[in-house]
């Protein structure tokens, strides 16, 4: 039976009006500007860009304001907005070796050319609440400077291992990579497709999966070969001109892990690699991504089967997208009156059959 359900329009309009009022909050307190969010909640902005899969700090800041700070809701807004824009093509692959680094650390080699650069990190802070920040009109903090000698181009740490042949090559694939936003995900996926899914995947989900591999659910025993954050130039072909030009600059976090050996009858043992690359400053996400990337490569590297969640490509790729997840999860709170009506009828019928059978006994 089809039952048309109408109504609730006024209730919905009023709910949205109240939402707008709640968003603004206490009017005794100054309104937050999009520019303030962009500048002072940068890491939230970066997360929305990464998982929204659209690099545009102003839009991400606006989405955070509109979503009242709910980052998954903000990511949803960005994903929806993206679909309204025409796609002009693809950039050339970014050259992270030429990154203008603000942070670059290696946990495997102490003395790397270019040095260990801590950058604006939370590491080594004591994680004590700083009540001074609650006061207004603080003195402007000022960073220290030093001669930037040797920071023009900081080479990838992996290059050093590569020279000795101790580590596998960076990873092969098609010249034109697949794109999840154009073609539905098909399994088994190529590594390129997996990396795209992970790059836009939920940070919390990837963090938990990466952690699970460290605790023994699909052990990858990763060392951080290198973690770097900084600006890279993006470059694209201009078809009318027949050459490529630099069109801007984006900030990226990149992580490469060195993992235990592969090797076979024909190939001597070599370190293997996991890779993470994320929009903005997000080293937790890039680190998680590189561990999960490595875990998913078990078959290609000839490792024995191990039913750990992080090694299950279908499980990981089908569940890492927080917009797909939240869409399906949250839809169950919307009216399911008719579905439920049929369940009700079924259970009444089953009960009456069971009860009458009992009476007969």
């Amino acid at each position: 039976m089809y039952v048309a359900v109408k109504g609730g329009e006024r209730a919905i309009d009023n709910a949205h009006a109240w939402l707008a009022e709640e968003r603004r909050g206490d009017t005794e307190i100054a309104e937050l500007s999009v520019a303030q969010i962009r500048a002072q909640l940068k890491l939230s902005v970066d997360r929305v860009m990464a998982e929204g899969s659209l690099y545009d700090p102003d839009l991400a800041a606006l989405a955070i304001k509109q979503a009242r700070g709910d980052l998954i809701e903000a990511i949803f807004l960005i994903r929806a907005y993206r679909t309204t824009l025409p796609r002009f093509g693809a950039t050339l692959p970014v050259e992270t070796a030429k990154m203008a680094v603000i942070r670059r650390v290696s946990a495997t080699f102490r003395d790397v050319p270019g040095g260990q650069i801590l950058g604006p990190t939370f590491d080594y802070t004591h994680r004590l609440l700083d009540f001074a920040l609650a006061a207004e009109g603080l003195d402007l903090p000022e960073a220290t400077t030093a001669s930037p000698e040797g920071l023009d181009t900081v080479p990838h740490v992996m290059g050093f291992l590569n020279r000795e042949g101790l580590i596998e090559e960076a990873g092969t694939g098609a010249d034109t990579p697949p794109d999840l936003t154009r073609e539905a995900l098909e399994l088994p996926a190529t590594r390129a497709l997996r990396l795209q899914a992970l790059a836009r995947g939920d940070e919390g989900f990837l963090l938990s999966l990466a952690y699970s591999t460290q605790r023994g659910y699909g052990n990858t025993h990763a060392f951080v070969g290198e973690l770097r954050i900084g600006q890279v130039v993006i470059e694209a072909e201009i078809p009318e001109l027949g050459f490529s030009v630099e069109i801007g600059e984006i900030e990226l976090s990149e992580c490469e892990t060195v993992n235990q050996f592969g090797g076979s009858k024909t190939e001597p043992p070599q370190f293997t690699r996991g890779y993470g690359l994320v929009f903005g400053q997000s080293e937790r996400k890039s680190l998680s991504m590189s561990l999960v990337d490595r875990a998913l490569r078990w078959k290609e590297l000839g490792e024995s089967h191990n039913p750990a969640p992080a090694r299950d490509e279908e499980f990981v790729l089908s569940h890492c997208d927080n917009i797909q997840a939240t869409g399906f999860l949250e839809h169950i709170k919307l009216p399911h009156y008719v579905d439920f009506q049929s369940e009700l009828e079924l259970i009444r019928r089953l009960r009456s059959a069971a009860l009458s059978a009992q009476e007969k006994e």
Partner: protein, 158 residues
Amino acid sequence: MSAMNHTGPSPAKDLTGARRAWMGTLARARPEALAALLPLPLPDHHDLRAPETGTMMVQGRIGGSGAPFSLGEVTVTRATLHLADGTTGHALVQGRDRTHARHAALVDALMQTDAAERIRETVLTPLTEAEAARREGRAAKAAATRVEFFTLVRGDDK
């Protein structure tokens, strides 16, 4: 009428290398900085393709140097215009700022005319310097966080 004193397109020569460089400088410039440096009034021009915003898929490389993969999109705006003398200017710039794209296309066109020297001096050079200063400033802060290791000599080794 054109406020610039250019007399027409320069004789054809291969500007590719130089043009790539100035288009990059214009794209990476802060839009308000570029706007502030433009010659006023702006020379006559008309749109061949009005500024249009879209996205491009940014590609990364597996392992930093391997095969490409789709990382995520970036907003971009493109524009094409003609000067009164027919010189064509193109722009493709990151972001959604239509004025930025139009200004970049305008300077791209002017740089192909006799006005190039003056535009380089008054627009491109200040933008290049500002960019270098920005980069240098960040690099100098990064350099201050570079770890200098030293080895402690253990007392019992003496």
